[in-house]
């Protein structure tokens, strides 16, 4: 394979290879110490980062995740070196901020972002598979709105300097987390979150970010593109991610089809479906799932950075207000959050149907 095909993956084969690499990396991080089915989960990791920054006080969900910081830096370096780092914003920052917040809350009610949906499904989780069905249903519904003319206002070009803020912050946090980890709340086991070794997580995060930026890896986006344009190259990447994770789980004996015994999951299938349907719907409207928003923000998209800010705020509130689910089930606050999220995204879709 030539260097150009690696740096600019466009064929289904190259995108599938990238997806398989990301899936294998995610399973590898789980084997190294991350929680089950949580080798890569943007929403869980953002909740951990929010805890480390003191936005909530639940120690077992607090850790300055080097994966997140690595994703930001990896995507930044990849976009900059490919001359795709372009600072723009002001398109619809409020919609992105609120949308990002609801995306995060939906993920927390389900317990996982769209990437973790794939990992939970690859582990045999039935609730994970139901969530995946909800995600596809949500994307399908949103795609109907795209077909009908939905789009958010185009962003404007902005001075390049403003785009460096997020990567610079990630770099400083990575330095602090590696050198002075006690600067963050619940930075260590046994109190903090389960995690793989710091260096391995940071290296994997850099790869996630760089590969994600080059391949445009996005679970919801790949479904949208397939439905909208009959272009299934991105879907090949998503499918390869799932197949690679499934194959490695089978090889490790970690595949166990189950509803009641799915680690860290709840068994409320209705809310698993609805929460992920809301996430799929919203992710298409604001142009990306949590992982994709991180990559876009790191490539200079300040509207995506607004979505990240919304997600971080929601991550703190999710724990403080008891919105996030647990193996015991879905809370009342979680159900309200999902319903409000549905209402918000549907109203946004109706409002911007012709790009008003």
């Amino acid at each position: 394979m030539s260097w150009r095909r690696i740096a600019y993956p466009e064929s289904a084969g190259a995108l599938a290879a990238t997806g398989a690499l990301l899936g294998a990396l995610a399973v590898g991080l789980t084997a190294l110490g991350n929680p089950a089915s949580t080798g890569l989960c943007a929403s869980c990791f953002l909740v951990n980062v929010a805890g480390a920054l003191g936005l909530h006080a639940r120690e077992s969900q607090s850790y300055m995740r080097p994966e997140i910081l690595g994703i930001v830096l990896g995507a930044f370096f990849a976009s900059y070196s490919a001359r795709e780092f372009r600072v723009r914003g002001g398109g619809s920052p409020v919609a992105h901020f609120a949308g990002g917040a609801f995306l995060l809350l939906g993920c927390e009610v389900f317990i996982g972002c769209p990437i973790k949906v794939l990992l939970r499904t690859a582990g045999g989780g039935i609730a994970g598979a139901v969530g995946l069905a909800g995600l596809v249903a949500g994307v399908l519904t949103a795609t109907l709105y795209l077909r009908d003319g939905f789009f958010l206002q185009d962003p404007k070009e902005l001075p390049e300097g403003t785009g460096f803020v997020l990567p610079a912050a990630a770099f400083l946090l990575l330095l602090l987390a590696s050198g002075v980890p006690e600067a963050f709340a619940a930075w260590t086991l046994p109190a903090g979150a389960h995690h793989a070794p710091f260096a391995a997580s940071a290296a994997a995060g850099l790869l996630f970010g760089a590969a994600g930026q080059r391949s445009r890896f996005c679970v919801t986006g790949s479904i949208r593109t397939g439905l909208l344009a009959r272009d299934f190259r991105e879907a090949a990447g998503t499918l390869a991610f799932l197949v690679a994770a499934l194959a490695l789980n089978l090889a490790q004996g970690a595949f166990s089809p189950s509803l009641a015994f799915e680690p860290g999951a709840h068994t409320d299938l209705f809310w698993a479906f609805l929460a992920l349907a809301m996430v799929g719907f919203g992710a298409i409207l604001v142009a990306g799932c949590p992982f994709r928003q991180l990559v876009r923000a790191s490539s200079g998209d300040l509207d995506a950075a607004a979505a990240i800010a919304g997600m971080l705020l929601a991550a703190g509130l999710s724990v403080r207000w008891g919105i996030g689910s647990s193996p015991a089930g879905v809370t009342s606050a979680g159900k309200v959050a999902v319903l409000l999220g549905c209402a918000f995204f549907l109203a946004l879709a109706a409002w911007k149907r012709k790009g008003e």
Binding site: A36, N48, I111, P190, A229, E262, I323, V336
Partner: protein, 147 residues
């Protein structure tokens, strides 16, 4: 993202009907939220049962009492009752089934739980569906999650 010029596999745009659908669904969602808020089923985080959500505070005293009851039942050979009390304890203080925590019930408990699950599935341990459900809850609590 702007509307694509290509047809794709979804057919033609669906026009104003989508707007009506959105308004109806948004209204239904809001109505559902309001209904949940005013019904007796709504619980604030402080009113959630112990262990009910990711951010619910723990009740260490209640958990210790449940663990003591579970150990008594276990000593008496009543696995189903023991699992029920262990579940109640984990709901009050999830850390007792968190292998990272100093409050963890220990590797021997983990091994016994796995043995009970095998036995319940095989029908070798009496207890039925309720006991298996309690064991499953403890298993889900012990592994995975967001942290």
């Amino acid at each position: 993202m702007k509307n694509t010029e290509r047809e794709g596999i979804l057919g033609n745009p669906t026009g104003r009907r989508l707007t009506c659908l959105a308004i109806v669904l948004a209204g239904a969602s809001l109505a559902g939220a309001l209904r949940l808020a005013v019904s007796g089923d709504f619980r604030t985080p402080a009113q959630e049962p112990p262990g009910g959500g990711a951010g619910i505070a723990s009740d260490r005293g209640g958990a210790s009492a449940e663990v003591a009851l579970a150990r008594n039942a276990e000593a008496g050979g009543d696995v189903a009752s023991a699992l029920s009390h262990y579940r109640a304890a984990a709901a009050r203080n999830p850390r007792i089934v968190d292998p990272r925590s100093p409050e963890f019930l220990g590797p021997s408990f983990e091994a016994r739980l796995k043995g009970w699950i095998r036995g319940l599935k095989a029908g070798e341990v009496p207890g039925g569906g309720k006991a298996l459900s309690d064991a499953a809850f403890l298993f889900r609590r012990m592994y995975g999650g967001c942290g």
